[in-house]
Symmetry: C2
Subunit: 333 residues, 2 copies
């Protein structure tokens, strides 16, 4: 680190004490306009950038909020992260990221590291840690969880209702006359995937359609898994006229596999995805999917943690995903 200029240097150049410099930098007390001008001039001349470390050490606030992500790269989580950045913009707080990699050990380390950097608050995007562990780890540190629902009221969570999302997607298909609807899910242990499956089952039950395990395939939220699942499904010989994929990427893979088997979408098979990824509107045909207000959630979470830092009580908030009807669903005739 190159030796940077300090308020001391400025004080000397401007012919005042460093307290005065501090005062004009922070506008904390009125100072004589002339001296203030001299300070500002000196600061510009020396290209002064206050040392945040010293500032935080002295003031006790870091003006940062720690953001724990889990492997960026998924459109949904990326959009949340962008929402967080946008929500922090202009508030004086900077986000500082740490990766939890969907691993509770790594996640714990990341939180520790953020605490070491004295983050004033923590935002968890997804994650694996149990609520009780989280609480033990963070103590009184303001904390908001995004895209994940921790049951206890003690936790502030900004999340989407995946059961409802799965329900709405399936219901849409049912309303178009489909009864043999396949579901390509995520990993069995993933709560989002489980919830969407629960919603699927709920819609089936409500419509008096028998649930068949043969129509439920396990995927991993990747296009490749959607592609493979359709092959498996076709080979199984189980009849189906529609597919509900647990996310858009899975739907893309499924769509390609269908095409390779000479099945048309939506004439032969209807398809619904989940996430409303940017690319989905330009698929062939444009994909009907569930939209999640990811960016908005990120912003809401940023605002929430800021309020909490200011000592205000905040509560959890659920978002309901919305159906985006496009052209991948046809009425079963």
């Amino acid at each position: 680190m190159a030796k940077a200029t300090t308020i001391q240097d400025i004080a000397k150049l401007a012919g005042v004490s460093k307290s005065t410099v501090s005062r004009v930098m922070n506008k904390t007390t009125a100072v004589h306009p002339e001296k203030a001008a001299a300070v500002i001039r000196a600061a510009e001349q020396l290209g002064f950038a206050p040392n945040q470390f010293a500032r935080s050490l002295a003031s006790g606030r870091s003006m940062t909020v720690g953001v724990i992500t889990q492997n960026l790269g998924s459109p949904f989580y990326d959009a949340i992260a962008q929402g967080v950045i946008a929500g922090l913009q202009g508030t004086g707080y900077s986000p500082i990221f740490a990766d939890g990699r969907w691993d509770h050990v790594v996640e714990e380390d990341s939180i520790r590291s953020l605490q070491g950097r004295r983050a004033d608050g923590i935002l968890l995007i997804g994650g694996q840690l149990r609520g009780t562990d989280l609480k033990a780890l963070c103590g009184t540190l303001p904390r908001v969880t995004i895209a994940r629902h921790l049951p206890s009221v003690q936790h502030c969570c900004i999340y989407v209702d995946n059961v409802q999302g799965g329900f709405l997607a399936t219901q849409h298909l049912i309303r178009h006359g489909h009864t043999k609807i396949a579901f390509i899910g995520g990993p069995h242990h993933h709560s989002d995937a489980k919830d969407r499956l629960a919603g699927y089952r709920k819609a089936l039950t409500q419509a008096n359609i028998r649930f068949t395990t043969k129509l439920v395939l396990e995927g991993n939220f990747s296009s490749a898994s959607g592609h493979a699942a359709v092959h498996t499904l076709l080979k199984s010989g189980e009849e189906f006229t529609a597919i509900f994929a647990a996310n858009d990427a899975t739907a893309y893979g499924a769509r390609l596999a269908l095409d390779q088997h000479g099945l048309r979408v939506p004439q032969d098979v209807s398809l619904v995805g989940y996430d409303n990824q940017a690319e989905s509107a330009f698929m062939i045909p444009p994909l009907t999917t569930m939209h999640q207000p990811a960016h908005q959630m990120g912003q809401a979470a940023a605002a929430a943690v800021l309020e909490k830092i200011q000592g205000q009580p905040i509560k959890s908030r659920v978002f309901i995903p919305e159906l985006r009807c496009r052209e991948s669903v046809a009425t079963r005739t």
Copy 2:
């Protein structure tokens, strides 16, 4: 910020001085095993996380590298950012992000803020600032530019040869017998777009194909712009048998527009994209595109800036994009 435990607390609990605590935390000097054990026990008991501010203030190193991004959300830049994160993993350095928003004013502020946080080095992903301004701003602060080529040897740049990329993509089309090749570019002022166009022209020239401005459309790297461009092209009546899109998103939009006009890919029109986005392999048909080693570039840049921080001299590095042949290109018969 809740009152956290300090080495002083640990010192008291372990019955040693804080210097000793510091020593066992940093393994800087051997200490009596028994005392060391006591310190470690005390630290665990109190859930100690060293205050990075105090640490940095005292040591003069922040153990962070500032990363300037420009609007996350594009697959290419996201992949670079992930590469940077991966490259820093386990090095003891944490990335701290700031958004430049493709705006030189914002970018300058971001760099200033990073300097205030005393980053030990800076990584610029893309950006608008001129090389001389950058140099003036950063001074001796180790700095590496990614995905952008600054002419002077003074700058260390990790970038891809977009001219070559545009050339290879176009050449691929030419080799399949195409001579009427449309190009859907990016904004006129965007250097990546300009370079890819230059490569396109170079390939045409080399094959003795006349360049027609009517076949060059302006886009903005979005699917919507690709979609619109094809409409414009079709309406213009200009003949073409192939399209080279400046990125994959643009190609998706173009593909949909073609489909809506009853044109088949690749039988009627061949299509090549740029970026090798994850979704491209699952388009219908799977999209032939130029692959850029974005993740690898991010990692390389992280390694480079670390070396520079250690005082080693480093030099720029060019990556050459590679053609990924899939099924969206057919031989012109």
